[in-house]
């Protein structure tokens, strides 16, 4: 029995990192995927429950246009979900990843069950329209994707001539198609999330969306092979090159699904504070638990192997963005230092992982610290994996009218010191405003001193609201209730509710101003994408990034528990072994 009974926020003397440390944009923007991320969590379940992939419908013409149905069926229950895919001819000039696009290479619906002809026809009339279509509660997720103009055609051409495509070109890009939106939770009439929460396989956050992307990956592999076969057949020349080659399974493992993510992802974190809290709390709880573990020889060896793999992964991580590339170079140097530290005798016997983490906190940059967090969580799945079940949020934010203003003032002092410290007289401290554009409701950022529309901004100026509230509270009796105060100050209702929420869910609030001129929205995107499990962040500006999803993940036909449990930080360079063993025949 432990000498010290663990509390929820302290594990054998190791406390959770405080919100003042974790909930800063710079740190959130340095997160990497962990075992808790939604993609690996999904694949572990699919493997554990022996889900299998079937393709009951493949109705594509020689040009690759038409529809297909890919079905995932549980091996332990009755659950069945189908990806209904529609492949379209698209003028390359219209190929855009922006929300404002009107047409795509492929559109998708994750369907509850297996659709019959009538349902496929209904979806075929609506899925290609995306936001302009209408859907029903049997439709769980809506998505679309565009081909990579750099490699999609190369792959088809190579395969059609019986050759494998160039591995280096494929792995550098990492995908053949990229999604530009994955809509869930009731959008355009699709199922409300509450419809899914009683189903274990979809109860966790974004599990239906991740299942959709995983199935899209399988669809894309079949699509390029279909096109290659058609092209070889049309070419019809006898002899070498007449028969198309299937895409090599090793190459498939090197490919994920790309994703282009813009500002739309950022408001989600602000608008779902309890969910954000639960994600971060699970991650921080896992870290504290692992830091409290002794460094055993097997776990030390395991961390060393993971670190070596992560170093190769980071060596292959190349981006055009100068700021991110500089961070990656710093990370590579830090990982080398971490490897030396891990090899040093003083990091051996008797120590707990806490010592290594504390050294990293003192000695390494944020990227390396957070990558170490991911690696530490990998070494102790028994301390981590069950926390996946805690990452959903059924609760809503609530207002407590009976709270005294004295207590409310205490909460502000305790949780919003960062907001009170901001000098709002300085114009840059609230230069930005977040808004929704008339153009397909695309979220955007503006400069309030130069652009019109600030009067319609989203309520993300939390520091300004908190300072306004604190100023007004100072003039009221401390024993007065929130109810009485808000009767006089209706405009502050939302910020009082927010502060009361943060008192219960301390990781619910990002402790930096999102309207500061120095705010980098890309940090918000990376935080959320890391929880998805996306990797290879490739910023195209401070408001827009590409990522790869499921790159290195086992294919559906390879899914067993060992493969599903170990595919983080994959590296694909020549001679690199993929992280998980091959388990099924080609």
């Amino acid at each position: 029995m432990p000498a010290e009974a663990p509390r929820s926020d302290v594990f054998h003397g190791v406390a959770l990192r405080p919100p003042s440390t974790v909930m800063r944009l710079a740190r959130l923007g340095s997160f990497f995927p962990t075992r808790l991320s939604f993609m690996p969590a999904l694949l572990r379940r699919l493997a554990r429950e022996r889900w299998r992939l079937e393709v009951p419908r493949w109705a594509l013409d020689a040009g690759g246009y038409g529809h297909a149905v890919l079905t995932l069926r549980s091996g332990v229950g009755d659950a069945v979900y189908s990806l209904v895919a529609f492949s379209h001819e698209l003028d390359p000039a219209l190929r855009s990843d922006r929300v404002i696009a009107e047409a795509w290479d492929a559109t998708f619906v994750l369907y509850d069950g297996v659709p019959d002809d009538a349902e496929i026809a209904r979806l075929g009339a609506n899925a290609p329209l995306q936001e302009a279509g209408r859907f029903c509660p049997r439709d769980l997720v809506l998505s679309r994707a565009n081909r990579s103009s750099r490699v999609f055609e190369q792959v088809v051409e190579s395969l059609s001539r019986g050759r494998q495509p160039d591995r280096a070109a494929l792995t550098a890009i990492g995908y053949l198609m990229r999604t530009t939106a994955v809509y869930g939770n009731g959008k355009f009439g699709i199922a409300d999330r509450v419809r899914l929460v009683e189903r274990p396989e979809l109860a966790g956050p974004f599990q239906a969306e991740m299942m959709t992307v995983y199935l899209i990956r399988s669809f894309v592999f079949r699509l390029v092979e279909h096109l290659a076969e058609s092209r070889a057949r049309e070419r019809g020349d006898p002899g070498e090159g007449r028969r198309a080659a299937p895409l090599d399974r090793e190459l498939k493992r090197c490919l994920g699904i790309g994703n282009a993510t813009g500002l739309g992802m950022a408001p989600f974190l602000v608008n779902h504070p309890i969910l954000l809290n639960n994600w971060i709390l699970a991650r921080e709880t896992a870290l504290a638990r692992v830091r409290a573990q002794p460094v055993s020889p097997p776990s030390r060896e395991r961390l060393g192997a993971l670190l070596a793999r992560a170093r190769r992964h980071c060596a292959e991580w190349q981006v055009d963005d100068r700021r991110q590339m500089a961070r990656i170079e710093g990370l590579r140097e830090d990982l080398e230092r971490l490897e030396r530290r891990l090899a040093a005798p003083r990091s051996a016997a008797g120590a707990r992982w806490d010592a290594l983490y504390r050294w990293a906190e003192r000695s390494l940059g944020l990227e390396a610290q957070e990558l170490l967090v991911s690696l530490l969580l990998e070494t102790h799945p028994e301390e981590v994996d069950a926390l996946c079940e805690t990452m959903g949020a059924a609760e809503r934010t609530k207002l407590d009218p009976a709270m005294t203003l004295g207590r409310l003032a205490e909460l502000i002092a305790e949780h919003y010191d960062w907001a009170l410290a901001i000098d709002l007289e300085e114009p840059d401290r609230q230069r930005l405003f977040w808004y929704v554009s008339e153009e397909k409701h695309e979220p955007r950022l503006g400069d309030r001193y130069r652009e019109a529309g600030a009067e319609r901004e989203m309520p993300f100026a939390v520091a300004r609201d908190v300072q306004d509230l604190a100023g007004k509270l100072a003039a009221r009796p401390r024993h007065e209730t929130v109810a009485a105060f808000l009767a006089d100050e209706p405009g502050l209702r939302h910020v009082v509710r927010r502060i009361q929420t943060v008192a219960l869910f301390p990781y619910a609030e990002i402790r930096d101003s999102l309207v500061d001129a120095a705010c980098l929205p890309i940090d918000l995107l990376r935080c959320k994408l890391s929880f998805f499990g996306a990797a290879k962040y490739d910023p195209k500006s401070d408001r827009w990034t590409r990522v790869t999803m499921f790159q290195g993940a086992p294919l559906p036909e390879e899914l067993d528990e060992a493969a599903a449990a170990d595919w983080c930080f994959p590296a694909f360079g020549a001679g690199q072994a993929l992280p998980a063993r091959q388990t099924a025949p080609a």
């Binding site: 009439g189 009218p401 554009s437 109810a483 009767a487 209702r493 590409r546």
Partner: protein, 219 residues
Amino acid sequence: MSLSLNELEVVVHKAALGAGLPVGFAEDAARLAGWLARAGLEPAAPVQRDLGELLAGRAGRCALRQLPPLLDGLVVAPDGETRTLELAEPLLAAAALATAANDVGLSGQAAWRLPEGGGVEVFASPDLVELRCDRPAALQRPGAARVTLRKIARGGAGLPLVFDTAGFLARRQEVVERGLAVEPEAWAALRQLAARILVPASDRSRLAGAGAGDIDRDS
């Protein structure tokens, strides 16, 4: 047309902002509309008419403006406290009472007379909700009413039951499984109100605002 609950709540939230309600009230408006929908009651028409009161300068009759502070006050008041006010859409009082019961443990009763005769009584506590009415067919017809809200530990109404807690849960499940039907004109009007919070696009916003140029075509 079939809507999802989330779709309803998002549009009502934005419509409330577009009509001029403060952010915190818009959050409550979405919540109340969602409760009506879960209760199997058409939510778009009463919300749209209620926001119309606000737009017409009659905020004093706008339930979505008046009910949140009134319920706050009832929460901190002693048992037996009664508040009475004229509301353009009294049905929203049922939603406000039920959500306050769920959120902060208020136990209370709301009652009003229907314009064409007959009465409505609602009782809500943290684990119970009842809606009673002797003319259920008239429950959703438009018409202002003087609503009495009372903080009370137990209900004791004698009107015919429209639904109790089990009935509410069954209605909610039906909506989740089949989607939600709304009055099309009211829904269209709510969407128009919601569009008021959108910012017109410009070339600058199209590029700099989203941080994207043609970068999305380079691969």
